[in-house]
Protein backbone atom coordinates (compact mmCIF):
# COMPACT_ATOMS: atom_id res chain seq x y z
CA UNK A 1 0.00 0.00 0.00
CA UNK A 2 1.28 3.46 -0.89
CA UNK A 3 2.25 5.43 2.20
CA UNK A 4 0.75 8.82 2.87
CA UNK A 5 3.68 11.10 2.22
CA UNK A 6 2.35 14.21 3.95
CA UNK A 7 0.70 13.14 7.19
CA UNK A 8 -0.44 9.84 8.57
CA UNK A 9 -2.04 9.91 12.06
CA UNK A 10 -0.86 6.36 12.81
CA UNK A 11 2.71 7.10 11.79
CA UNK A 12 2.57 10.38 13.72
CA UNK A 13 1.51 8.43 16.82
CA UNK A 14 4.43 6.06 16.36
CA UNK A 15 6.77 8.97 15.89
CA UNK A 16 5.59 10.71 19.06
CA UNK A 17 6.04 7.44 20.92
CA UNK A 18 9.57 7.13 19.55
CA UNK A 19 10.35 10.74 20.48
CA UNK A 20 9.09 10.28 24.03
CA UNK A 21 10.88 6.97 24.42
CA UNK A 22 14.14 8.53 23.27
CA UNK A 23 13.72 11.57 25.54
CA UNK A 24 11.68 10.59 28.59
CA UNK A 25 14.73 10.63 30.84
CA UNK A 26 15.63 14.13 29.69
CA UNK A 27 12.09 15.41 30.21
CA UNK A 28 11.78 13.74 33.61
CA UNK A 29 15.02 15.29 34.75
CA UNK A 30 13.95 18.66 33.32
CA UNK A 31 10.84 18.66 35.54
CA UNK A 32 13.01 18.02 38.60
CA UNK A 33 15.51 20.73 37.62
CA UNK A 34 12.72 23.19 36.82
CA UNK A 35 11.03 22.48 40.15
CA UNK A 36 14.23 22.98 42.14
CA UNK A 37 15.16 26.08 40.15
CA UNK A 38 11.70 27.57 40.55
CA UNK A 39 11.74 26.86 44.28
CA UNK A 40 15.16 28.46 44.65
CA UNK A 41 14.03 31.54 42.72
CA UNK A 42 10.80 31.78 44.69
CA UNK A 43 12.66 31.59 47.99
CA UNK A 44 15.18 34.19 46.86
CA UNK A 45 12.50 36.55 45.60
CA UNK A 46 10.55 36.68 48.84
CA UNK A 47 11.44 38.33 52.13
CA UNK A 48 10.31 37.66 55.67
CA UNK A 49 8.84 41.13 56.16
CA UNK A 50 5.78 40.73 53.98
CA UNK A 51 2.93 38.33 53.85
CA UNK A 52 3.46 36.24 50.74
CA UNK A 53 0.82 36.46 48.05
CA UNK A 54 0.59 34.15 45.06
CA UNK A 55 0.34 37.16 42.75
CA UNK A 56 3.74 38.31 44.03
CA UNK A 57 5.24 35.10 42.68
CA UNK A 58 3.89 35.61 39.18
CA UNK A 59 6.86 37.66 37.86
CA UNK A 60 9.14 34.73 38.70
CA UNK A 61 6.63 32.40 37.05
CA UNK A 62 6.55 34.37 33.79
CA UNK A 63 10.27 35.16 33.67
CA UNK A 64 10.98 31.46 34.21
CA UNK A 65 8.49 30.48 31.53
CA UNK A 66 10.11 32.80 28.99
CA UNK A 67 13.70 31.94 29.85
CA UNK A 68 13.42 28.17 30.07
CA UNK A 69 10.81 27.83 27.32
CA UNK A 70 12.81 29.81 24.81
CA UNK A 71 16.10 28.12 25.65
CA UNK A 72 14.39 24.72 25.36
CA UNK A 73 12.89 25.66 21.98
CA UNK A 74 16.22 26.98 20.73
CA UNK A 75 17.72 23.52 21.36
CA UNK A 76 14.94 21.51 19.75
CA UNK A 77 16.76 21.01 16.44
CA UNK A 78 20.24 20.72 17.96
CA UNK A 79 20.40 17.16 16.62
CA UNK A 80 20.70 18.60 13.11
CA UNK A 81 24.00 20.14 14.21
CA UNK A 82 25.32 16.68 14.97
CA UNK A 83 26.10 14.66 11.84
CA UNK A 84 25.17 11.25 13.27
CA UNK A 85 21.94 12.38 14.92
CA UNK A 86 21.07 14.58 11.96
CA UNK A 87 21.29 11.66 9.53
CA UNK A 88 19.15 9.54 11.85
CA UNK A 89 16.59 12.34 12.11
CA UNK A 90 16.36 13.17 8.41
CA UNK A 91 16.31 9.56 7.21
CA UNK A 92 13.74 8.40 9.72
CA UNK A 93 10.72 7.20 7.72
CA UNK A 94 8.25 9.84 8.85
CA UNK A 95 7.21 12.90 6.88
CA UNK A 96 8.76 16.30 7.53
CA UNK A 97 5.35 17.50 8.69
CA UNK A 98 5.05 14.72 11.26
CA UNK A 99 8.55 15.43 12.55
CA UNK A 100 7.88 19.15 12.67
CA UNK A 101 4.51 18.88 14.39
CA UNK A 102 5.95 16.56 17.02
CA UNK A 103 8.68 19.15 17.76
CA UNK A 104 6.12 21.93 17.78
CA UNK A 105 3.88 20.06 20.21
CA UNK A 106 6.78 19.17 22.49
CA UNK A 107 8.08 22.76 22.61
CA UNK A 108 4.66 24.35 23.14
CA UNK A 109 2.05 22.07 24.74
CA UNK A 110 4.63 19.66 26.19
CA UNK A 111 6.85 22.38 27.62
CA UNK A 112 3.98 24.45 29.06
CA UNK A 113 2.50 21.36 30.67
CA UNK A 114 5.79 20.34 32.29
CA UNK A 115 6.59 23.91 33.31
CA UNK A 116 3.22 24.38 35.00
CA UNK A 117 3.60 21.05 36.79
CA UNK A 118 7.13 21.98 37.92
CA UNK A 119 6.10 25.44 39.09
CA UNK A 120 3.07 24.08 40.90
CA UNK A 121 5.29 21.58 42.72
CA UNK A 122 7.71 24.39 43.62
CA UNK A 123 4.76 26.49 44.82
CA UNK A 124 3.51 23.65 47.02
CA UNK A 125 6.98 23.09 48.46
CA UNK A 126 7.38 26.76 49.17
CA UNK A 127 3.99 26.85 50.85
CA UNK A 128 5.06 23.92 52.99
CA UNK A 129 8.34 25.67 53.94
CA UNK A 130 6.53 28.90 54.85
CA UNK A 131 3.90 27.05 56.82
CA UNK A 132 6.60 25.17 58.73
CA UNK A 133 8.40 28.41 59.55
CA UNK A 134 5.50 30.84 60.11
CA UNK A 135 2.39 28.68 60.39
CA UNK A 136 0.73 30.62 57.57
CA UNK A 137 -0.03 29.65 54.00
CA UNK A 138 0.71 31.65 50.87
CA UNK A 139 -2.26 33.92 50.21
CA UNK A 140 -3.96 32.74 47.05
CA UNK A 141 -5.04 35.96 45.31
CA UNK A 142 -4.78 34.64 41.77
CA UNK A 143 -8.44 35.44 41.03
CA UNK A 144 -7.80 39.15 41.66
CA UNK A 145 -4.53 38.89 39.73
CA UNK A 146 -6.35 37.38 36.76
CA UNK A 147 -8.82 40.28 36.75
CA UNK A 148 -6.27 43.07 37.25
CA UNK A 149 -3.52 41.84 34.97
CA UNK A 150 -3.70 41.12 31.23
CA UNK A 151 -1.97 37.78 31.84
CA UNK A 152 -3.25 36.34 28.55
CA UNK A 153 -0.87 38.66 26.71
CA UNK A 154 2.08 37.12 28.50
CA UNK A 155 1.07 33.79 26.94
CA UNK A 156 0.40 35.32 23.53
CA UNK A 157 3.78 37.04 23.46
CA UNK A 158 5.40 33.80 24.64
CA UNK A 159 3.97 31.98 21.61
CA UNK A 160 5.32 34.69 19.28
CA UNK A 161 8.76 34.47 20.92
CA UNK A 162 8.61 30.66 20.80
CA UNK A 163 7.82 30.78 17.07
CA UNK A 164 10.80 33.08 16.43
CA UNK A 165 13.01 30.79 18.49
CA UNK A 166 11.80 27.69 16.61
CA UNK A 167 12.57 29.34 13.29
CA UNK A 168 16.02 30.26 14.61
CA UNK A 169 16.55 26.70 15.84
CA UNK A 170 16.00 25.31 12.33
CA UNK A 171 18.42 27.83 10.83
CA UNK A 172 21.15 27.72 13.46
CA UNK A 173 22.17 24.49 15.15
CA UNK A 174 24.84 26.10 17.30
CA UNK A 175 24.29 29.08 19.63
CA UNK A 176 20.78 29.26 18.24
CA UNK A 177 19.40 31.15 21.25
CA UNK A 178 21.98 33.95 21.08
CA UNK A 179 21.96 34.17 17.28
CA UNK A 180 18.17 34.34 17.11
CA UNK A 181 17.91 37.05 19.77
CA UNK A 182 20.69 39.04 18.09
CA UNK A 183 19.12 38.79 14.64
CA UNK A 184 15.68 39.61 16.00
CA UNK A 185 17.10 42.72 17.68
CA UNK A 186 18.82 43.74 14.43
CA UNK A 187 15.60 43.12 12.49
CA UNK A 188 13.51 45.21 14.90
CA UNK A 189 16.10 47.99 14.85
CA UNK A 190 16.09 48.03 11.02
CA UNK A 191 12.30 48.06 11.05
CA UNK A 192 12.43 51.06 13.36
CA UNK A 193 14.89 52.84 11.05
CA UNK A 194 12.72 52.19 7.99
CA UNK A 195 9.70 53.47 9.86
CA UNK A 196 11.74 56.54 10.86
CA UNK A 197 12.44 57.28 7.20
CA UNK A 198 8.76 57.09 6.31
CA UNK A 199 7.75 59.16 9.33
CA UNK A 200 10.29 61.85 8.36
CA UNK A 201 9.00 61.72 4.80
CA UNK A 202 5.35 62.04 5.79
CA UNK A 203 5.57 64.42 8.74
CA UNK A 204 8.86 66.22 8.14
CA UNK A 205 9.14 69.36 10.21
CA UNK A 206 6.08 68.82 12.35
CA UNK A 207 7.55 65.63 13.78
CA UNK A 208 8.35 66.21 17.44
CA UNK A 209 11.66 64.32 17.40
CA UNK A 210 13.03 61.93 14.81
CA UNK A 211 12.59 59.07 17.26
CA UNK A 212 9.16 60.02 18.62
CA UNK A 213 7.19 57.26 16.99
CA UNK A 214 6.37 53.59 17.45
CA UNK A 215 6.40 51.62 14.20
CA UNK A 216 2.99 51.32 12.56
CA UNK A 217 1.12 52.51 15.69
CA UNK A 218 1.81 56.03 16.86
CA UNK A 219 3.61 59.28 15.92
CA UNK A 220 4.13 62.33 18.13
CA UNK A 221 3.92 65.65 16.30
CA UNK A 222 4.10 69.34 17.21
CA UNK A 223 0.81 71.18 16.87
CA UNK A 224 2.14 74.62 17.49
CA UNK A 225 3.52 76.93 20.13
CA UNK A 226 1.46 78.71 22.79
CA UNK A 227 2.40 80.92 25.69
CA UNK A 228 2.77 77.80 27.83
CA UNK A 229 5.15 76.26 25.35
CA UNK A 230 5.00 73.67 22.59
CA UNK A 231 1.77 71.75 22.04
CA UNK A 232 2.18 68.11 21.10
CA UNK A 233 -0.25 65.64 19.67
CA UNK A 234 -0.19 61.86 19.42
CA UNK A 235 -1.43 60.43 16.15
CA UNK A 236 -2.55 56.88 16.80
CA UNK A 237 -3.89 54.52 14.20
CA UNK A 238 -7.65 53.81 14.41
CA UNK A 239 -8.90 51.30 16.96
CA UNK A 240 -9.99 48.85 14.22
CA UNK A 241 -6.51 48.85 12.77
CA UNK A 242 -5.04 48.34 16.23
CA UNK A 243 -7.29 45.33 16.67
CA UNK A 244 -6.23 43.94 13.30
CA UNK A 245 -2.55 44.36 14.26
CA UNK A 246 -3.15 42.75 17.63
CA UNK A 247 -4.99 39.86 16.01
CA UNK A 248 -2.23 39.41 13.43
CA UNK A 249 0.48 39.44 16.09
CA UNK A 250 -1.39 37.05 18.35
CA UNK A 251 -2.89 34.58 15.93
CA UNK A 252 -1.19 34.96 12.54
CA UNK A 253 2.45 35.67 13.31
CA UNK A 254 3.22 32.41 15.18
CA UNK A 255 1.68 30.14 12.49
CA UNK A 256 3.51 32.09 9.77
CA UNK A 257 6.83 31.65 11.60
CA UNK A 258 6.09 27.96 12.23
CA UNK A 259 5.34 27.50 8.52
CA UNK A 260 8.64 29.14 7.59
CA UNK A 261 10.44 26.84 10.03
CA UNK A 262 8.71 23.81 8.48
CA UNK A 263 9.70 24.88 4.95
CA UNK A 264 13.29 25.36 6.08
CA UNK A 265 13.31 21.93 7.73
CA UNK A 266 12.27 20.28 4.44
CA UNK A 267 15.29 21.88 2.76
CA UNK A 268 17.77 20.78 5.38
CA UNK A 269 20.91 19.01 4.11
CA UNK A 270 23.67 17.25 6.00
Amino acid sequence: MQANNLFSPVRFGWYMRKHLQDNYRLYGMSVIVLTVLSLALLLLSTTDNFSIKASGLMPVFFIGMYATGLIFTSLCFAELGNKQQGIDYLLFPASHLEKFISTLLVTTVGFLLLYHVAFYLAYQMMDFIIYTKKSVHIVNDLKEFAVDTPWQYFYSIWFVAQAFMLLGAVYFQKYSFIKTIFLLAVFLFCLYLVNTLFVLLFFGKILDEWYSHFPFIVVQIQKGVTAEGEVHDLLIIPETLQQIFRFAAQYLLPPILWTLAYVRLRDKEI
Binding site: A3, N5, Q21, D22, I87, P93, A94, R266
Partner: protein, 277 residues
Protein backbone atom coordinates in the same frame (compact mmCIF):
# COMPACT_ATOMS: atom_id res chain seq x y z
CA UNK B 1 16.14 1.06 -9.00
CA UNK B 2 18.65 3.92 -8.46
CA UNK B 3 18.93 6.41 -11.27
CA UNK B 4 21.33 9.34 -11.21
CA UNK B 5 21.15 11.63 -14.21
CA UNK B 6 23.46 14.54 -14.99
CA UNK B 7 24.11 15.15 -11.34
CA UNK B 8 26.22 18.19 -10.60
CA UNK B 9 27.13 19.20 -7.11
CA UNK B 10 29.66 21.36 -5.32
CA UNK B 11 30.18 22.25 -1.71
CA UNK B 12 31.87 25.48 -2.79
CA UNK B 13 31.55 27.60 -5.87
CA UNK B 14 34.06 26.82 -8.63
CA UNK B 15 35.05 23.59 -6.88
CA UNK B 16 32.75 20.95 -8.32
CA UNK B 17 32.57 17.54 -6.69
CA UNK B 18 30.36 16.00 -9.40
CA UNK B 19 29.84 17.21 -12.93
CA UNK B 20 27.10 15.64 -15.04
CA UNK B 21 27.48 12.36 -13.21
CA UNK B 22 25.34 9.49 -14.50
CA UNK B 23 24.80 6.14 -12.82
CA UNK B 24 22.16 3.41 -13.01
CA UNK B 25 22.04 0.72 -10.32
CA UNK B 26 19.78 -2.29 -10.54
CA UNK B 27 18.18 -4.59 -7.99
CA UNK B 28 19.76 -7.97 -7.34
CA UNK B 29 23.31 -6.67 -7.13
CA UNK B 30 25.85 -5.72 -4.51
CA UNK B 31 27.74 -2.70 -5.76
CA UNK B 32 31.10 -1.68 -4.39
CA UNK B 33 31.70 2.05 -4.60
CA UNK B 34 35.41 2.76 -4.62
CA UNK B 35 37.32 5.98 -4.76
CA UNK B 36 40.18 7.93 -3.29
CA UNK B 37 39.75 10.00 -0.14
CA UNK B 38 37.70 13.06 -1.01
CA UNK B 39 36.54 11.62 -4.35
CA UNK B 40 32.94 11.98 -3.20
CA UNK B 41 31.89 8.44 -2.23
CA UNK B 42 30.03 9.51 0.89
CA UNK B 43 28.59 12.56 -0.86
CA UNK B 44 27.24 10.35 -3.65
CA UNK B 45 25.63 8.03 -1.09
CA UNK B 46 24.15 11.07 0.67
CA UNK B 47 22.64 12.21 -2.62
CA UNK B 48 21.07 8.78 -3.08
CA UNK B 49 19.68 8.90 0.47
CA UNK B 50 18.39 12.46 0.05
CA UNK B 51 20.72 14.02 2.59
CA UNK B 52 22.31 16.27 -0.02
CA UNK B 53 20.53 17.97 -2.90
CA UNK B 54 21.98 18.20 -6.43
CA UNK B 55 22.81 21.61 -7.84
CA UNK B 56 21.63 20.22 -11.17
CA UNK B 57 20.34 16.89 -12.40
CA UNK B 58 18.28 14.21 -10.69
CA UNK B 59 18.75 11.44 -8.22
CA UNK B 60 15.88 8.98 -8.06
CA UNK B 61 15.36 5.82 -6.06
CA UNK B 62 12.41 3.59 -6.99
CA UNK B 63 11.02 6.56 -8.92
CA UNK B 64 11.13 8.87 -5.89
CA UNK B 65 13.21 12.02 -6.08
CA UNK B 66 15.56 11.48 -3.14
CA UNK B 67 15.71 15.11 -2.06
CA UNK B 68 12.05 15.16 -1.01
CA UNK B 69 12.64 12.41 1.57
CA UNK B 70 9.06 11.19 1.40
CA UNK B 71 8.07 8.44 3.85
CA UNK B 72 7.34 6.02 0.99
CA UNK B 73 10.93 6.55 -0.14
CA UNK B 74 12.46 6.46 3.35
CA UNK B 75 10.79 3.19 4.29
CA UNK B 76 12.41 1.62 1.24
CA UNK B 77 15.93 2.81 1.80
CA UNK B 78 18.26 2.27 4.73
CA UNK B 79 21.60 3.95 5.13
CA UNK B 80 24.27 2.82 7.56
CA UNK B 81 26.53 5.85 7.73
CA UNK B 82 30.17 5.69 8.69
CA UNK B 83 29.41 7.64 11.84
CA UNK B 84 26.00 6.66 13.12
CA UNK B 85 23.66 7.35 16.00
CA UNK B 86 21.78 4.92 18.19
CA UNK B 87 19.53 6.11 21.01
CA UNK B 88 20.28 5.20 24.62
CA UNK B 89 17.75 2.39 24.84
CA UNK B 90 17.77 -1.39 24.97
CA UNK B 91 17.79 -3.46 21.77
CA UNK B 92 14.21 -4.49 22.49
CA UNK B 93 13.02 -0.88 22.85
CA UNK B 94 14.94 0.11 19.75
CA UNK B 95 13.19 -2.55 17.71
CA UNK B 96 9.76 -1.83 19.16
CA UNK B 97 9.99 1.89 18.32
CA UNK B 98 11.88 1.82 15.03
CA UNK B 99 10.63 -1.36 13.35
CA UNK B 100 6.98 -0.24 12.79
CA UNK B 101 8.26 2.35 10.33
CA UNK B 102 9.61 -0.37 8.03
CA UNK B 103 6.66 -2.38 6.70
CA UNK B 104 8.81 -5.35 5.67
CA UNK B 105 10.80 -5.54 8.89
CA UNK B 106 11.56 -9.14 9.88
CA UNK B 107 12.01 -9.41 13.64
CA UNK B 108 13.12 -13.03 13.51
CA UNK B 109 15.77 -12.24 10.93
CA UNK B 110 16.98 -9.35 13.09
CA UNK B 111 17.59 -11.62 16.07
CA UNK B 112 19.23 -14.18 13.78
CA UNK B 113 21.64 -11.54 12.50
CA UNK B 114 22.43 -10.50 16.07
CA UNK B 115 23.14 -14.10 16.89
CA UNK B 116 25.36 -14.37 13.84
CA UNK B 117 27.27 -11.32 15.04
CA UNK B 118 27.34 -12.73 18.59
CA UNK B 119 25.60 -9.73 20.14
CA UNK B 120 24.03 -10.46 23.55
CA UNK B 121 20.29 -9.68 23.27
CA UNK B 122 19.98 -8.36 26.82
CA UNK B 123 22.83 -5.88 26.52
CA UNK B 124 21.93 -2.19 26.39
CA UNK B 125 23.06 -0.16 23.39
CA UNK B 126 24.81 2.28 25.74
CA UNK B 127 26.95 -0.50 27.15
CA UNK B 128 28.14 -1.67 23.73
CA UNK B 129 31.38 -0.92 21.95
CA UNK B 130 31.41 0.99 18.65
CA UNK B 131 31.83 -2.25 16.69
CA UNK B 132 28.95 -3.95 18.53
CA UNK B 133 26.68 -0.98 17.93
CA UNK B 134 27.58 -1.04 14.27
CA UNK B 135 26.67 -4.70 14.08
CA UNK B 136 23.30 -3.96 15.69
CA UNK B 137 22.66 -1.25 13.12
CA UNK B 138 23.73 -3.49 10.21
CA UNK B 139 21.46 -6.23 11.56
CA UNK B 140 18.57 -3.79 11.78
CA UNK B 141 19.30 -2.47 8.29
CA UNK B 142 19.25 -5.97 6.81
CA UNK B 143 16.14 -7.01 8.75
CA UNK B 144 14.26 -3.90 7.60
CA UNK B 145 14.24 -5.48 4.12
CA UNK B 146 14.38 -2.15 2.37
CA UNK B 147 14.80 -2.33 -1.38
CA UNK B 148 17.86 -0.09 -1.30
CA UNK B 149 20.56 -0.58 1.29
CA UNK B 150 23.45 1.85 1.52
CA UNK B 151 26.49 1.05 3.63
CA UNK B 152 29.16 3.70 4.03
CA UNK B 153 32.45 2.19 5.19
CA UNK B 154 30.61 -0.64 6.97
CA UNK B 155 33.72 -2.58 7.96
CA UNK B 156 35.34 0.37 9.76
CA UNK B 157 35.47 -0.49 13.45
CA UNK B 158 34.78 -4.18 12.92
CA UNK B 159 37.31 -6.72 14.12
CA UNK B 160 38.64 -9.43 11.76
CA UNK B 161 36.07 -12.15 12.65
CA UNK B 162 33.28 -9.58 12.37
CA UNK B 163 34.40 -8.61 8.87
CA UNK B 164 33.97 -12.15 7.67
CA UNK B 165 30.61 -12.39 9.52
CA UNK B 166 29.65 -9.17 7.77
CA UNK B 167 30.46 -10.62 4.34
CA UNK B 168 28.47 -13.71 5.20
CA UNK B 169 25.29 -11.91 6.29
CA UNK B 170 25.38 -9.46 3.38
CA UNK B 171 25.83 -12.26 0.87
CA UNK B 172 22.91 -14.10 2.45
CA UNK B 173 20.70 -11.02 2.48
CA UNK B 174 20.92 -10.10 -1.19
CA UNK B 175 17.87 -10.91 -3.26
CA UNK B 176 16.49 -10.08 -6.69
CA UNK B 177 14.55 -7.17 -5.17
CA UNK B 178 17.38 -5.58 -3.25
CA UNK B 179 20.08 -3.22 -4.36
CA UNK B 180 23.01 -3.00 -1.96
CA UNK B 181 25.64 -0.35 -2.32
CA UNK B 182 28.79 -0.46 -0.24
CA UNK B 183 31.30 2.32 -0.14
CA UNK B 184 34.74 1.56 1.19
CA UNK B 185 38.39 2.37 0.90
CA UNK B 186 39.28 -1.00 2.40
CA UNK B 187 38.72 -2.89 -0.83
CA UNK B 188 39.99 -6.22 0.52
CA UNK B 189 37.06 -6.27 2.96
CA UNK B 190 34.73 -6.62 -0.02
CA UNK B 191 36.54 -9.57 -1.60
CA UNK B 192 34.09 -12.20 -2.83
CA UNK B 193 31.18 -10.03 -1.79
CA UNK B 194 30.45 -7.43 -4.41
CA UNK B 195 29.36 -8.36 -7.91
CA UNK B 196 29.73 -4.91 -9.47
CA UNK B 197 32.43 -2.30 -9.16
CA UNK B 198 31.86 1.43 -9.41
CA UNK B 199 34.90 3.70 -9.25
CA UNK B 200 34.50 7.40 -8.79
CA UNK B 201 37.24 9.89 -9.56
CA UNK B 202 37.70 13.36 -10.91
CA UNK B 203 34.02 14.33 -10.50
CA UNK B 204 32.76 11.36 -12.52
CA UNK B 205 32.12 7.64 -12.54
CA UNK B 206 35.19 6.43 -14.39
CA UNK B 207 34.57 2.69 -14.15
CA UNK B 208 31.45 0.58 -13.72
CA UNK B 209 31.61 -3.13 -14.52
CA UNK B 210 30.37 -6.47 -13.23
CA UNK B 211 33.06 -8.58 -11.54
CA UNK B 212 32.30 -11.32 -14.08
CA UNK B 213 32.99 -8.99 -17.01
CA UNK B 214 36.20 -7.81 -15.35
CA UNK B 215 37.53 -11.34 -14.96
CA UNK B 216 36.43 -12.17 -18.52
CA UNK B 217 38.44 -9.30 -19.96
CA UNK B 218 41.33 -9.00 -17.52
CA UNK B 219 43.73 -11.52 -16.10
CA UNK B 220 45.08 -11.05 -12.58
CA UNK B 221 48.26 -12.91 -11.84
CA UNK B 222 51.49 -12.77 -9.86
CA UNK B 223 54.78 -13.14 -11.72
CA UNK B 224 58.38 -13.23 -10.59
CA UNK B 225 59.79 -11.47 -13.61
CA UNK B 226 57.73 -8.74 -15.13
CA UNK B 227 59.83 -8.66 -18.30
CA UNK B 228 58.57 -12.15 -19.18
CA UNK B 229 54.98 -11.00 -19.22
CA UNK B 230 53.40 -9.50 -22.31
CA UNK B 231 51.02 -6.59 -22.49
CA UNK B 232 51.12 -5.63 -18.83
CA UNK B 233 48.39 -3.09 -18.21
CA UNK B 234 49.37 -2.45 -14.65
CA UNK B 235 51.71 -3.94 -12.09
CA UNK B 236 52.39 -3.65 -8.42
CA UNK B 237 55.55 -5.06 -6.88
CA UNK B 238 55.71 -6.71 -3.51
CA UNK B 239 57.96 -9.12 -1.63
CA UNK B 240 56.07 -12.04 -3.21
CA UNK B 241 56.69 -10.84 -6.75
CA UNK B 242 54.77 -8.66 -9.16
CA UNK B 243 51.00 -8.56 -9.19
CA UNK B 244 50.03 -7.79 -12.76
CA UNK B 245 46.94 -7.13 -14.81
CA UNK B 246 47.01 -8.22 -18.43
CA UNK B 247 44.30 -8.55 -21.06
CA UNK B 248 42.62 -11.95 -20.71
CA UNK B 249 43.21 -13.08 -24.25
CA UNK B 250 43.22 -16.79 -23.48
CA UNK B 251 39.87 -16.71 -21.58
CA UNK B 252 41.64 -17.90 -18.46
CA UNK B 253 40.03 -17.76 -15.06
CA UNK B 254 41.59 -15.60 -12.37
CA UNK B 255 40.49 -14.16 -9.06
CA UNK B 256 39.92 -10.43 -9.12
CA UNK B 257 42.35 -8.34 -7.10
CA UNK B 258 40.23 -5.32 -6.37
CA UNK B 259 43.02 -3.22 -4.94
CA UNK B 260 45.11 -3.81 -8.05
CA UNK B 261 42.18 -3.08 -10.33
CA UNK B 262 41.37 0.10 -8.43
CA UNK B 263 44.94 1.34 -8.69
CA UNK B 264 45.06 0.39 -12.37
CA UNK B 265 41.86 2.26 -13.16
CA UNK B 266 43.11 5.36 -11.37
CA UNK B 267 46.57 5.15 -12.93
CA UNK B 268 45.62 4.27 -16.49
CA UNK B 269 41.92 4.90 -16.91
CA UNK B 270 42.04 5.10 -20.71
CA UNK B 271 43.90 1.80 -21.19
CA UNK B 272 41.62 -0.08 -18.82
CA UNK B 273 38.33 1.35 -20.07
CA UNK B 274 39.43 0.76 -23.68
CA UNK B 275 39.37 -2.97 -23.00
CA UNK B 276 35.75 -2.80 -21.86
CA UNK B 277 34.48 -0.76 -24.78
Amino acid sequence: MISIQNLSFSYRKNKPLFENLNLQLEAGHIYGLLGKNGAGKSSLLKHIAGLLFPNAGHCKVLGFESRYRQPAFLQNIFMVPEEFYLPQVSIKSYVSTYAPFYPLFDKKAFYNYLEEFQIPMDQKLTEMSYGQKKKVLISFALASNTKALILDEPTNGLDIPSKSQFRKVIAAAVSDEKCIMISTHQVRDLDNLIDSIVIIDNHKIIFRQDVETVTDRLLFSTVTNIADTNKVLFSDSSIRGHAVITPNEGAQHSKIDMELLFNAVLDKPERITQIFN
